[in-house]
Amino acid sequence: MAAETSPEETEKPAKKKKIHESAVKLTNVTKRFGDKLAVDELTLNVRAGWIYGLIGPNGAGKTTTFSMMAGYLEPTAGQVEVLGFQARSVDELRGRVGVLPQDALLPALDRVSEFLIHMARLQNLPTTKAIGAARDALKDVGGLDWWDMRCSNLSHGMAKRVSLAQALLGEPDVVLLDEPTAGLDPRVAYDVRQLVKSLKGKCTVIISSHNLQELEEVCDAAAILDHGKLITSGTIAELTAAAEEIHVRIGRATKAAQAAGAPKVQPIPFDAIRQIPGVTRYEFDEERRDLGVFFDRKQTDAETVIGQTLWQLLNAQVRISGVTKGRGLEQRVMDLTDD
């Protein structure tokens, strides 16, 4: 299976860097653990500058794929290239790839500063620059106060952010993040998301995560995996069909209206909606009270369809609970993956 997509909107890089057109490329990659097939002939191409999501249920092969990109795991077959080099070419990729591993513990005895400076020194930064890079990275994750703390004294959230800081040391070209907000409180998770968003255009970011809302919010594109195979990939807009359908959640009539004999849900003017220019069909899920309106993207756009559909619904005195463009990544993943 092959997948190559392009972002609809490409932001201008914040700074000029010599970056490879294809930041990460997997070609027919297979990984077996004994008899278990974890990744099955996966082909992916992540373009430089994207924020790219790896999506899938447990056991889909996300972390295995991520680990092969980071060079932790050797593929059983196929090729993994990062910035045009083999994923394990440490010398060529030194300082150009930052990785946040999901479950790696920080060395307990080290102070945060020692750990980060040591990592920066291994990226070939001289001591003075290494100290500066360590401070900058820690500042980026909001942890400058922990400079002298021992890693063993950090809370889970703090440790996660220090790990994130080491991934961002020296402004790498490719940043690989495995579950960057897992276990973080909502406030810190929000800060981390903002930080990831701020990387857009500066470097390529690949995020493996279960949090689909988060991925939908921050990613340009994503790949959906299941049972080690690529199910589909594309820009978030493509994946959610945001340019081809809208969904309106219909509200119930008020209790007073129901008491006066009104139906629970006002009749929906399906014919009027079908007449909206560009609309090809509609679906109504009575149980979920979800009205899906599908349209031809060449004739119209989502915003126009939303406006006209709402107009028709309001004219028919239908109460509206919410409106979304596309199906939502979560629904899309549910549709595409087993269980």
Partner: protein, 298 residues
């Protein structure tokens, strides 16, 4: 970045970590106490030997010791050399080569396996060649145990210097030589410990496997020692030490602590064989560990 720079960074961190870890500090104190006791025992043994020979003064004792060896069939040159070894220091060296592997096992079992267990290794593998990382760990372990043996050698040398069993010159020559010998032998044990540690993700298993590996290395040496002892009992004129260095069996090279006799020998060929054996040990085990680690999934 050169591999040498990577190795020195990893080794330097390993040294700092060992020095300030609770495990390292407790082990250091216990080792110092045990070694102090060993020094006292060595001095007590030397005092006993001197009394037996009937000479209290150092020079007179050496002359008597040399004559006794020549009388037992040892070559005159070798007898002169051996007689001028500070007996307490040599005895202490014998004790030190036993302490060395214990320290290596206890300080080194989790050097790599600990990083593998907690996956901290993942922070390093994206920045350092795997073989550099492993060599850094090896040199770090070798370095810290060698530092401990240096401290112990200095302490023991000062003790026998105060006692009057060695001169100031002996302190700098034999003291330094004893430390170098112990350090080289420690290097062989450290290479095996690093190899074993890199093969396990559970430090406890790595510790057990390290002791098992060390036992397997000790066994051929023990067999050689028993065989030699039997032959010495049957032939009372036989000099056990001379027989060892002149007729070392191939399998005895598997036991690094047996190299001390080679390294203490006055004959350059023996010393070269001892250093060569240490070097081969280190190259084989660190090389093997690096080759396997390069392919390992972390």
């Amino acid at each position: 970045m050169s591999p040498a720079a990577e190795i020195s960074l990893v080794a330097g961190r390993e040294l700092r970590k060992s020095i300030r870890s609770v495990k390292g500090i407790i082990l250091g104190i216990l080792t110092l106490l045990a070694s102090f006791l060993t020094v006292l025992i060595c001095i007590w043994i030397e005092t006993g030997v001197r009394t037996k020979v009937g000479e209290g003064g150092t020079d007179a004792f050496r002359d008597a010791y040399e004559q006794a060896m020549v009388k037992n069939g040892t070559e005159a040159g070798v007898a002169h050399y051996v007689a001028h070894m500070p007996l307490s220091l040599i005895l202490f060296l014998k004790a030190l080569v036993w302490i060395g592997p214990l320290l290596v096992a206890v300080l080194g079992f989790d050097s790599v396996s600990g990083d593998l267990q907690h996956r901290s290794i993942r922070f390093w593998t994206v920045r350092s060649r795997r073989w550099s990382y492993l060599l850094g760990k090896f040199f770090g372990l070798w370095g810290i145990v060698s530092l401990v043996t240096l401290a112990l050698t200095v302490i023991s040398s000062i003790a026998v210097l105060i006692r009057g069993y060695i001169t100031a010159t002996d302190f700098f020559t034999w003291g330094a030589r004893c430390w170098l010998i112990s350090a080289f032998i420690v290097g062989t044990w450290a290479s095996v410990a690093t190899f074993v540690s890199s093969r396990f993700k559970t430090p406890l298993l790595a510790l057990l496997a390290t002791f098992a590996a060390f036992f397997c290395m000790w066994l051929p040496g023990f067999i050689g020692w028993v065989s030699r002892l039997t032959s010495a009992i049957n032939d009372t004129s036989n000099d056990l030490h001379a027989q060892h260095v002149n007729d070392i069996r191939w399998y005895e090279y598997l036991y690094p602590n047996g190299y001390d006799d080679l390294l203490l020998s006055p004959k350059p060929m023996h010393v070269a064989a001892g250093f060569g054996a240490c070097a081969v040990y280190m190259i084989v085990f660190v090389g093997l560990a690096s080759a396997l680690f390069a392919k390992k999934d972390v």
